[in-house]
């Protein structure tokens, strides 16, 4: 489904702040893989997701989605293949527009947007049913501005927007990091449910090792812009946090440095 071959990205080239963020990164995801991504500070987790989404062009290398090379396409042209949820709950939705308007914009991802009415009548019923399944009471607030919702509710809406048109690949970039633990758990549960129900291929960056172990069928660890661990199947099911830390030290030859990760439960 996704095939990343040998991508490089350096920020602030030729200055004192030069940072090699991606360093010959390779990754191949199979259809239906739900892969969690962990790594230390500056390991390139978010950079990898941004490279896939096309926030900026990579320096070299190729990114194939469903057999098509997208590395030459700008962000908005890659959007039809992707569903994205961001770390900041403010990023994924328009605060000043109604819930239903936000959903309608997402439902037209990859389509020509003409002079037809922005939200059609039959869509309203569809969205009502979808929101009802979320069980957050949002189905009765469809004409409320998204700005009135809590962070967790906004992430739930963003998640629905990302998957309202089945994407080839779902990118979750620490999408529960800004939420309180209880809400984070609920949003994660929702993500799990949507991914398995629609049989989506997904990449989820997280700083919580336990979440990374519990969720998904595959786990990769990044270090210095490269994949250094790739665990799947039975091996992943039997994984523990201690085990993972041990592996990291063995492969990278240093201790794992991620403030948030070590502090996380």
């Amino acid at each position: 489904m996704l095939e990343i071959s040998n991508i490089y990205k350096t920020f602030n080239k030729g200055t004192v702040n030069e940072k090699k963020a991606l360093n010959g990164l390779n990754l191949k995801l199979n259809d239906g893989d739900f892969c969690t991504v962990i790594g230390g500070n500056g390991a390139g987790k978010s950079t990898m997701l941004n490279a896939i989404a096309g926030v900026w062009p990579v320096d070299s290398g190729a990114i194939m989605i469903d057999g098509k090379d997208v590395s030459g396409l700008p962000e908005y042209k890659r959007a039809p293949y992707l569903g994205r949820v961001f770390q900041d709950p403010m990023t994924g939705t328009v605060a000043d527009m109604e819930i239903i308007e936000n959903l309608a914009i997402a439902a037209r991802r990859g389509q020509r947007r003409g002079l037809a009415w922005g939200v059609k009548k039959e869509e309203k019923e569809k969205y009502y049913e979808m929101l009802k399944e979320f069980d957050l009471g949002l189905e009765n607030r469809m004409t409320s501005k998204v700005g009135l919702l809590s962070g967790g509710q906004r992430q739930a809406i963003t998640l629905l927007m990302a998957t309202i048109k089945k994407p080839k690949l779902l990118l979750l970039d620490e999408h529960t990091a800004a939420l309180d633990p209880k809400t984070a758990a609920k949003v994660l549960e929702l993500s799990d449910k949507i991914i398995s129900e629609h049989n989506l291929t997904a990449l989820m960056v997280t700083h919580n090792m336990r979440d990374a172990i519990v969720h998904g069928n595959r786990l990769i660890m990044l270090n210095e812009g490269r994949v250094i661990l790739d665990i799947s199947g039975e091996e992943k099911k039997n994984l523990t946090v201690e085990h993972l830390l041990e592996k990291f030290e063995k492969v990278s030859g240093s201790k794992l440095e991620n403030d948030r990760m070590l502090l996380a439960d």
Binding site: A53, E75, Y76, K77, A79, P80, L82, R84, F86, M90, T91, G92, T93, V94, A95, D96, M97, E101, A104, I105, A106, R108, R109, G110, Q111, R113, G114, L115, A116, W117, G118, M161
Partner: protein, 321 residues
């Protein structure tokens, strides 16, 4: 004392009321211009200064076409197209060449000054209602108010429709959240150019009406237009929020831009009636706009200020002793 008495006795209330209809008519026409500013300033979140140029372009194109014997409807259409072209230029300067929004607008504005002079051939071109068939004229003010109001109503309905469509929604989302828009497959550069084109088209349209209303086009007629347009938008917004609280829908918000334009011109009428020197009108405009821009912020600061906390605590300290 004597000076004050003679000053106030020299003010004639009737003069104010007789000037009122003219102020209202001009206010509506500038309110239309404000609707153009509303598109960029409120919806697209883009401070577009090219409107000073495109307002005069609308007037210039209308005047020169009338003088050359074209009918008024064709003159208005070409004026709007000229405004649209100006907006596209600002949009391309900003999106394709990465020039910041304010600078892109200023470049278009200054370029249009020369363009407008070339269109007019001189700095001022009269189009009297005696010689030409006009859509709107100060010669019949009641009629002018009626026509301007009808045009406003039609434009507001058209804008309500357009910004509710799929394409219109992309402009609103681009203005409010470009990152989300890109992630949802919206080409935000195209959205920006469309919005700037529409905005400047509307502004040129009101420039055309204003030239007809005053009976001439002048190369300087757009000087400070952005500030008057902003005045209409902001006065309307502050007033609309005061009356409707948070319940003002999109139609009401736009209607209040027209109201804002009218109120601005009535305020200007009062200033002139008080026999303030006409040289100072731009100064008064700036003061009015600054006050209305400051009001919402001051209100916010009042309920959310360090001084308030300091006062409260000082008070409770005293009571505690």
């Amino acid at each position: 004392m004597d000076v004050l008495i003679s000053y106030f006795s020299s003010l004639n209330p009737m003069a104010f009321f007789s000037a009122l209809p003219g102020n209202i008519a001009q206010g509506i026409i500038w309110g239309l211009m404000g609707l153009g500013v509303f598109v960029t300033y409120k919806l697209l979140n883009f401070a577009d200064l090219s409107v000073d140029g495109s307002f005069a372009t609308g007037g210039a194109v209308t005047a020169i076409m009338l003088v050359n014997g074209y009918p008024i409807w064709s003159a208005i259409i070409v004026s709007v197209l000229a405004g649209i072209a100006a907006g596209i230029i600002t949009g391309v300067l900003h999106t394709s060449f990465g020039i910041p929004d304010i600078l892109a607008g200023i470049l278009t504005q200054i370029a249009l000054y020369s363009v407008n002079l070339n269109i007019l051939g001189k700095s001022n071109l009269p189009i009297s209602y005696r010689n030409y068939q006009l859509a709107i004229s100060a010669s019949n003010i009641n009629n002018a108010i009626l026509i301007a109001l009808c045009i406003s109503a039609v434009l507001i309905i058209l804008m309500y429709w357009y910004f509710g469509t799929e394409q219109g929604s992309t402009i609103r989302s681009t203005g409010a959240n470009p990152a989300m828009s890109k992630a949802q497959g919206i080409n935000i550069n195209t959205a920006k150019i469309i919005a700037l084109a529409l905005s400047n088209g509307i502004v040129a349209f009101s420039g055309s009406l204003f030239a007809q209303y005053q009976g001439f086009a002048d190369v300087n007629m757009g000087r400070g237009a952005i500030v008057i347009g902003l005045a209409a938008v902001i006065i309307g917004e502050v007033l609309g929020e005061a009356i409707f609280r948070k319940h003002a829908n999109f139609i009401i918000r736009m209607a209040f831009v027209i109201v804002g334009g009218i109120l601005y011109y009535i305020a200007m009428g009062i200033v002139l009636w008080l026999k303030m020197p006409t040289d100072d009108t731009k100064l008064f405009t700036a003061v009015i706009v600054a006050i209305f821009l400051a009001v919402p912020n001051l209100r916010k600061m009042k309920s959310n200020s360090f001084k308030k906390v300091a006062k409260q605590n000082a008070k409770s300290d005293k009571e505690g002793k």
